[in-house]
């Protein structure tokens, strides 16, 4: 170390620095800063003091004057582990994860005896997905603190993320064996989760025989019965033990007969997927008798029966009519997946029209209105807007208090292209029931589509938290990360300033009157305001995604402590796909197109300025 080679200066200043470090640890930043500043006054290249000054400046709010001290310190003594550590701390506080990881790693490599750095380093390496180095860090920290199960789990996770399945399973098995005789009531959950995690890894490695063997061996430890059964059935299918698998799927269906996947998997286990339709239909008829309140056994046959099969019409009729009679608002949404097949669509159209004409009139009036509601959606799906509109108008005449009808009416009007009128209809529905949050959100969205941003924000503000001095819920919408409102606002503002730009273009440039000039000035100001607002809202969405990304940082340690490794792995997978989320892509597209416009305008302006200068400089 440089300090050691320079003992005369080092003693006094190092003592000062050590004192300052203690003060820093106890959060006495101002006192600490005084000490390091005294040090720097005497010796302007005392790297440790410089580094600490950087960190302290940041903590004391002098953020702009922080980085330069860090940069100076690490350029003077990059091999000083204290300097490295402080640099790591600094970059961590400004969310620069790669730099922070780099300097904490340097601190360890340069001989820091502080093992706690390993833990912080592991979190950073997880955040930047440096799995290769993460494994070594977790391993080293485990050797330092083997007394905590969380550290074993963390090491196994790092091994798993490196696809070193054997090592991960070994690590988990080792700690299981160590801990087994000492398990208390409070550890039962953790034990169960770790066993299932071990199984999850073996499954991912593709060794189903071993996975099944381990699962059965651990059965007593596993308290999550649902996962146990799902895993077991899956392995049995993959290993060709279909009969046993089918028994477990039947058990799972008993637990939850509304899970569509269990039906499909049961069929896989029974091998019926390729059997004749009649055979499969019998299976579902039986299941429907077992679970009369469940939708899947009634619906699934409609997906595999061909439209010209005699049973299709009969089964579809039973399915649709029973829902219309009960007044299930989502009947159309339930049936819609079948519409991908145009022949099935036609059969269903015939069924509903006949039901509406022949049966509905003698039944309860609500059945008539729900049938009209269905037909309006049906013709909207077919883009036959006129017929759809006739049905919804007749439904509205019949029952003008039913909110659902207005939603479809507004959608039809939207498809006609009249956003303004669509938003009015939605608002009419909202006023029927101000407590209905769904219709409130729908109205907000439709108002935004009609470029009525202020009305939209006032509308949704009925459901936001209002601070005492706030005029509307705009701040809360940001705080609650309501991305759909933010992006719809940004897009509305963009349309608004484009409209102003069009008006500006249409102004006659020859008109020198004061009025014309004032109008031009006003348009230009409006363009600036609304362009600025569009950019601001787009950036608010981007900021929220940055928060989503930063938020995972805490989980790199929390999930180990809480023993939720399987969920942690799923979280990482989700975070890795964060920036392909549709709303993020839409934001980037919208934002970049605004920036491109600005860029092109700037280029044009530059050309214009240049040619003007040429004219001025060249004497005529």
């Amino acid at each position: 170390m440089v300090a050691r080679n320079n003992p005369i200066l080092a003693n006094k200043e190092d003592a000062n620095f050590r004192e300052a470090l203690k003060l820093f640890d106890s959060k006495q930043y101002k006192k600490a800063l005084k000490l390091v500043e005294a040090n720097i006054k005497k010796n302007s290249s005392h790297a440790e003091s410089l580094a600490l000054k950087g960190v302290l400046n940041h903590h004391l709010g002098h953020k702009a004057e922080a980085k330069q001290f860090i940069t100076k310190a690490v350029s003077k003594e990059p091999g000083n582990y204290l300097v490295d550590h402080l640099a790591g701390i600094y970059f961590r506080t400004i969310d620069d994860y790669p730099e922070a990881a780099k300097w904490l790693k340097a601190s360890i490599d340069n001989g820091s005896p502080n093992r706690a750095i390993l833990r912080d380093l592991a979190l950073l390496q997880s955040q930047i997905r440096d799995y290769k180095n993460l494994r070594d860090t977790r391993q080293a920290y485990l050797e330092f603190q083997p007394g905590y199960r969380a550290n074993w789990t963390a090491t196994a996770i790092a091994q798993h993320l490196n696809k070193d399945y054997n090592a991960a399973v070994n690590t988990l098995t080792k700690i299981e064996d160590i801990i087994k005789p000492h398990l208390t009531e409070a550890d039962v959950y953790e034990q169960s989760e770790c066993c299932l995690y071990k199984n999850y890894i073996v499954n991912e490695a593709g060794n189903y025989t071993k996975a099944l063997e381990l699962l059965e061996k651990d059965e007593k430890e596993i308290t999550d019965r649902l996962s146990f059964l799902e895993y077991k059935a899956k392995y049995l299918v993959l290993l060709g033990q279909n009969e046993e698998a089918s028994l477990i799927y039947r058990q799972l269906l008993q637990r939850n007969p509304d899970n569509v996947d269990y039906y499909t998997l049961l069929e896989t286990a029974l091998g019926t997927s390729s059997k004749p339709f009649e055979y499969r239909l019998k299976l579902y008829e039986k299941l429907a008798r077992f679970y009369p309140r469940s939708d899947p056994p009634k619906f699934i046959p409609l997906t595999f029966l061909p439209s010209d099969h005699p049973s299709f019409e009969q089964k579809a009729k039973e399915y649709v009519e029973s829902q219309l009679k009960r007044g299930v608002p989502s009947t159309f949404v339930n049936i819609k997946p079948l519409y991908k097949n145009i022949e099935k669509l036609k059969v269903i159209e015939k069924i509903v029209l006949e039901f509406f004409k022949l049966q509905a009139p003698s039944l309860n009036p609500t059945i008539t209105v729900w049938s009209k509601y269905f037909l309006a959606q049906h013709y909207l799906y077919l883009n036959d807007l006129v017929t759809a509109n006739d049905y919804i108008d007749s439904a509205l005449d019949h029952s003008p208090t039913l909110v659902e009808l207005y939603i479809v009416k507004a959608r039809i009007i939207k498809h006609f292209g009249d956003y303004e009128k669509a938003s009015q209809i939605m608002n009419e529905a909202r006023e029927l029931d101000l407590q209905d949050r769904f219709i409130n959100s729908k109205t907000t969205k439709y108002l935004l589509r009609a470029n009525k941003v202020n009305e939209a924000i006032d509308c949704i503000s009925l459901f936001t938290k209002l601070d005492d001095d706030a005029v509307n819920g705009c701040k809360d919408l940001h705080l609650m990360q309501v991305n759909w409102v933010l992006i719809e606002s940004a897009e509305a503002y963009t349309r608004i300033y484009h409209e102003y730009e069009k008006q500006l273009k249409d102004l006659s440039p020859e008109d020198p009157s004061e009025e014309a000039l004032a109008a031009e000035q006003e348009l230009k100001e409006n363009i600036d305001i609304f362009k600025g607002l569009a950019l601001k809202r787009y950036h608010a969405v981007i900021d929220n995604f940055k928060i989503f990304f930063d938020d995972q940082f805490d989980f790199h340690s929390y999930c180990m402590r809480r023993a939720t490794p399987r969920d942690y792995i799923e979280t990482l997978k989700w975070e890795d796909k964060l920036h392909s989320t549709p709303i993020y892509v839409r934001t980037i597209k919208g934002l970049s197109s605004v920036y491109w416009e600005i860029y092109e305008q700037q280029q044009k302006q530059k050309e214009l300025d240049a040619s003007n200068e040429d004219k001025e400089s060249s004497p005529s």
């Binding site: 009369p292 019949h398 029952s399």
Partner: protein, 170 residues
């Protein structure tokens, strides 16, 4: 399941709140030829009117309303039926009777308010409405001339029913 829901429609009542008042406005605009004043909508939300102002639901769809106000003159409290109506497709299903009985029961079972009677106006051209109320124990007590300023005929019957004497119910 579906057969029971077909033969036994669910009829229920809900109190008026500032949130569902829009539904009452919508029903009034469809049901009655008169535009009601803001005072009307303030009064139906008064706490003491809660038991006597209701939305009527048929299979969870709001299809009707009944609104009354309390009138106290010389220490005598009467219930005045301001509006009652059901959407056309939902008529002749006993909803009006159920609503009226619901309010009458609420008034009769409220010993605190000591409501002596309930009364209402019916346009003299509307004989079927009159007989409806008569079936529910109301009796014609007077004819008020020129009650309806904008409607023809202008006159209205006043129908009244005692609420203290349960025997009045036929």
């Amino acid at each position: 399941m579906s057969t029971t829901s077909r033969s036994q429609p669910r009829v229920s009542f809900a109190s008026l709140t500032p949130n569902n008042l829009g539904t009452v406005r919508k029903l009034n605009s469809v049901l009655f030829p008169i535009k009601y004043s803001e005072k009307f909508y303030q009064d139906v939300l008064l706490p003491q009117a809660e038991d006597f102002c209701k939305l009527v639901y048929f299979n969870d769809v709001p299809v009707g309303t009944i609104c009354c106000r309390l009138e106290t003159v010389d220490n005598k409290t009467r219930l005045y039926l301001m509006t009652m109506g059901v959407l056309a497709p939902y008529r002749s299903r006993g909803l009006g009777s159920k609503s009226l009985e619901h309010v009458i029961a609420a008034a009769a079972n409220n010993p605190k308010l000591k409501i002596e009677s309930m009364y209402l106006h019916v346009q003299v051209s509307n004989a079927s409405a009159k007989s409806f109320y008569e079936r529910h124990g109301f009796k014609e007590v007077a004819v008020q001339q020129d009650y309806y300023k904008k409607l023809i005929p202008h006159d209205a019957w006043i129908l009244e029913r005692s609420l203290t004497d349960q025997q009045a119910d036929k």
